[in-house]
Amino acid sequence: MEIFGIPSALLGSQLLIGLINGSFYAILSLGLAIIFGLLNIINFAHGAQYMMGAFIAWLALTKFGINYWVALIATPIIVGAFGVLLERTMLRKLYKLDHLYGLLLTFGIALIIEGIFRDQFGISGQSYDVPELLSGGVNLGFMFLPIYRGWIIVAALTVCFGTWFMIERTKLGAYLRAGTENSQMVQALGINVPLLITFTYGYGVALAAFAGVLAAPVFQVNPLMGSHLIIVVFAVVVIGGMGSIMGSIVTGLGLGLIEGLTKVFYPEASSVIVFVIMVIVLLVRPAGLFGKA
């Protein structure tokens, strides 16, 4: 069977791969959206923090023999703690200023992090093997799916919807949302807003690191792996409507799918398609698909 001259088996596999890539977009844009929602900062260091996640997992394995599963939990905590440090020492000083300073500061931080890793580990990248438990693959009939790729979707969706649940359905999430709407009021109600902000930034950064660990067995662990991705993720966040939690998840997955299809029908355009969609969306809905005007 063929659809538009493309065998349906190929189409099916491309959609699945699109979904896998969309999972990365979803976690990364979710982290950005959470940070933006409460701090009003576009975290330009997100790509560098994603790279840190992958590198720390690699370091843990090669230098200390710490396995993938431990790294998957520990790395986001370590990088998240680093995020907390950044927030406490630097970002905190900027809240009273124009939001743009936050973007510029994190841009500078991204340069520093990437530069240091590049100097320490070279540019060619490092290999991280797929963990034993998830190696191999299954034949789905229309394609051979490496088990690890399936795991990416499961892990990403679990984390994304877990985060969504936490924000929409728990008390902590309620504080968070309230803090986004009117932080002075929340402060007046006796909630420690600065702590909430610190926690949020740390959590957003941890999400980036989590995506990094997930990515390590799939992509070469390279100091610049984040800087290529981050611009696309920015576009995803803009399309979804900045600060919208569900919007960022759904848009991330959706754009992964669209990008996957582009790779079949017009591969040359697959890196531009996200930006084209962004421009169209902004023309029709300036606040993004899920954003409030």
Binding site: I17, D119, G122, D129, Y148, P267
Partner: protein, 404 residues
């Protein structure tokens, strides 16, 4: 670090004497070599500080062995892969600091920019890291030497050998820019000439990170060989993911532009069995091993072909300066083209009219993990590609300097 500082200080002193207007056979009584390379970016592993080290080694060895009557200085700078920074630095070196030759020049855009300035300022450009063929074709000039390798030699060597060994049907993963398409075009010509067939190709965006979509298309084509017409992180990611999706070893991969640093970073598991062409392999014979070991002791990495070529080209340049008895550009160029190159890097290497240095290239196959006995034991040399077959024939050159 310290020697570099000393060198810089020495350079300043030389600069002072230069401005005093010394008019010896050697401008400023010194032969000055500039290493303009990528010290911080994408190519810093395959060229970078290793190329600077290779230059220092070449100068030290030359002084120890030849006891030249002239002084030799070196300066180095990071062009950050930006053509304008490279152009600015080369101009400054030529106009103000009396640099006689700008060397290394990784990435084609910086090499082309510096070649133009060298021509204008009557100085020499020794190109090692850059890969594209326009350097010795449309854009060639008589003050530039393309020394180590080019895309033609690599794609040609690999595609020919793989096709001859039975890899008759091909599918290309091509980085969607001029360079990727050039690789694909050169390889396709060789494949068809050797009775093979190209079933299709897919152009992927540059830089890409996920190649699984494209790999599945290659898989669906049923081709025996998937040709990777890309470089650097694109190539390594594609190889890694091909193994992940079980595409290799059913279909084999051929990297058209790969360096030992790529194999080193991926490890042998995903790369085993791959064919690739290189201008230098450290473990080829006693001579290469001896040199590579000295390099390794300082750099903690084995040299790439670019770094080995950098050493060889600098040494050859200095020999030519000695033979010519001057650092005058055209006289040195004549001496460089006249003398054959014989060292651990090349045997009977010759610099042609188009600036191409032709020497034997080596078709190598990446070892199985079990066959690798010691660190950096990565390749088995399958074939020596003789110099006259390794590079684009002079008769096909589009360089205006080649008289037909």
């Amino acid at each position: 670090m310290l020697d570099k500082k000393l060198l810089t200080v020495a350079c300043a002193a030389v600069f002072a004497t230069l401005s005093a207007g010394a008019q010896a056979q050697y401008s400023g009584n010194v032969v000055k070599i500039g290493v303009l390379t990528d010290l911080s970016g994408t190519y810093s592993d395959l060229a970078g500080s290793g190329a600077v080290l290779a230059t220092e080694m070449a100068i030290a060895d030359f002084i120890a062995k030849e006891k030249p009557a002239f002084k030799i200085e070196m300066v180095s700078s990071d062009h950050q892969n930006k053509a304008d920074i490279a152009a600015n630095k080369a101009r400054e070196w030529f106009e103000r600091e009396g640099v006689d030759t700008a060397t290394e020049l990784v990435t084609t855009s910086t090499a082309l920019a510096v070649m133009k300035i060298a021509k204008e300022k009557d100085r020499i450009a020794l190109i090692n890291g850059a890969a594209s063929t326009p350097i010795t074709n449309e854009q060639c000039n008589d003050v530039s030497v393309h020394y180590t390798y080019d895309t033609y030699a690599l794609s040609n060597g690999t595609a020919k050998a793989v096709t001859q060994q039975g890899g008759k049907t091909w599918f290309f993963l091509t980085a969607d820019y001029a360079f990727g398409h050039a690789l694909e075009k050169d390889a396709t010509a060789v494949i068809t000439a050797n009775g093979g067939k190209v079933l299709g190709s897919v152009a992927h965006p540059f830089p890409g990170s996920d190649f699984s979509s494209f790999l599945l298309q290659a898989q669906a084509s049923g081709a025996q060989v998937i040709g990777l017409a890309n470089a650097g992180a694109d190539t390594t990611n594609a190889i890694k993911q091909a193994a992940e999706f079980g595409i290799t070893p059913k279909q084999s991969l051929a990297g058209l532009l790969m360096f030992i640093t790529d194999v080193h970073s991926l490890g042998l598991k995903p790369t085993q069995g791959m064919y690739l062409t290189t201008g230098f392999y450290w473990d080829r014979n006693d001579e290469t091993r001896a040199w590579a070991k000295r390099f390794f002791d300082k750099q903690k990495r084995m040299p790439t072909m670019v770094q080995a070529g950098q050493y060889s080209s600098i040494y050859h340049y200095l020999e030519a300066v000695k033979a010519a008895g001057t650092d005058d550009t055209m006289k040195v160029m004549a001496a460089m083209k006249k003398a054959p190159i014989n060292d651990f890097f090349a045997k009977n290497g010759v610099i042609r009219a188009d600036g191409r240095m032709v020497h034997d290239m080596y078709l190598v196959q990446v070892k199985k993990p079990a066959d690798s006995k010691y660190p950096w034991d990565y390749y088995t040399i399958r074939q020596t590609i003789p110099a006259d077959q390794a590079f684009q024939p002079l008769s096909e050159s589009r360089c205006p300097l080649v008289k037909k």
